[in-house]
Symmetry: C2
Subunit: 160 residues, 2 copies
DNA sequence: GGTTTAGTAAAGCAAACTTGACGAATTAGT
DNA sequence: ACTAATTCGTCAAGTTTGCTTTACTAAACC
């Protein structure tokens, strides 16, 4: 007698699930992100949100205009305006008039923002070291290299 | 003459950034997720959202009660109720009365939902294969194994 | 028969945006 | 030189997503 169709489905599902590294990647990223943000808020006592941390790597040390920032992050200028406003209130960013253009302003890190940024990265380093002890430093390094190439592949190739 | 302090900061920043695999992991996950969701909506013409796909892996083939689902995903029963309602409207899930309990209902995949699930996983497999060609199949496999151990480490160890 | 338990209903909230309308400075056209 | 069009950012309002809280019914358990 033939197996019921639901078993075929279950088998196909199991195979597809097992083969997929993307799902594992998603889950790792989500869990690690949650942990890092929880730790960050615990240490800084500031309400830094994911949208804020997404902004940081795009701010040049010499300062960046909000419009440029919006383009880099891929959101509207208004959205950047809101985020910057919040971060200025927290004392992490500051704005200065752009000497080259009276309409424009330059967003840059304040002294406190710079310290906070380094602290945040150090904190991430701690987490990575802690996890590296569990998964193996060599494998962590190997994964880092592979992820860098994956990132390049994602940024270069277009959506099919 | 000594270098200005901002250069020290820039150097420290560059070092910290370069050493961090977590940031690369986050960016890869975000980009890949965006691409997968865009492709999914393009193919299915349905408005499947991340919160929906987060639900799928927790639904047993024999059906799962909303309350149990809520516990597994870590959200309220009401939130599950909303998501299930939407997915039933899309024709991907269906609900049947639980024969063991008159108050309870069982959430399960409809025939169309099962087909959709397999299609979605196949689609993810396509993306992975395409990226695997770029980053190298062996490295992709190695990364998969490392990520699985990272996941285990994240789920086992507590927040410091 | 009283108390859990399963789920529903309605409202609200926070995050992370967007759209549309605007003012002020700059650049371009004539 | 002087409008005219463009660009830079802001203000205010609205939207979507993904939840939560509070209050409630109906069935089941004891």
């Amino acid at each position: 007698m033939p197996a019921p169709p639901s078993d075929e489905f279950a088998a196909a599902l199991a195979v597809a699930k097992n083969a997929s590294w993307a799902q594992v990647l998603f889950k790792c990223a989500r869990l690690l992100n949650e942990r890092a943000l929880a730790l960050l808020q615990k240490r800084t006592k500031q309400h830094v949100r994911p949208s804020h941390t997404a902004l940081f790597p795009h701010i040049d040390l010499q300062g960046t205009r909000p419009g440029v920032l919006a383009e880099r992050v891929g959101i509207s200028k208004q959205a950047v305006g809101q985020l910057v406003e919040e971060l200025v209130e927290m004392g992490l960013l500051e704005q200065v008039a752009d000497p080259a253009d009276g309409r424009a302003r330059l967003v840059m890190f304040s002294a406190r923002g710079k310290k906070g940024l380094l602290m945040g990265l150090a904190m991430l380093g701690e987490l990575e070291a802690q996890l590296g002890n569990v998964i193996g430093t060599a494998d962590a390094k190997h994964m880092h290299a592979t992820l860098l190439r994956l990132l390049a592949a994602l940024e270069e190739t277009s959506v099919p």
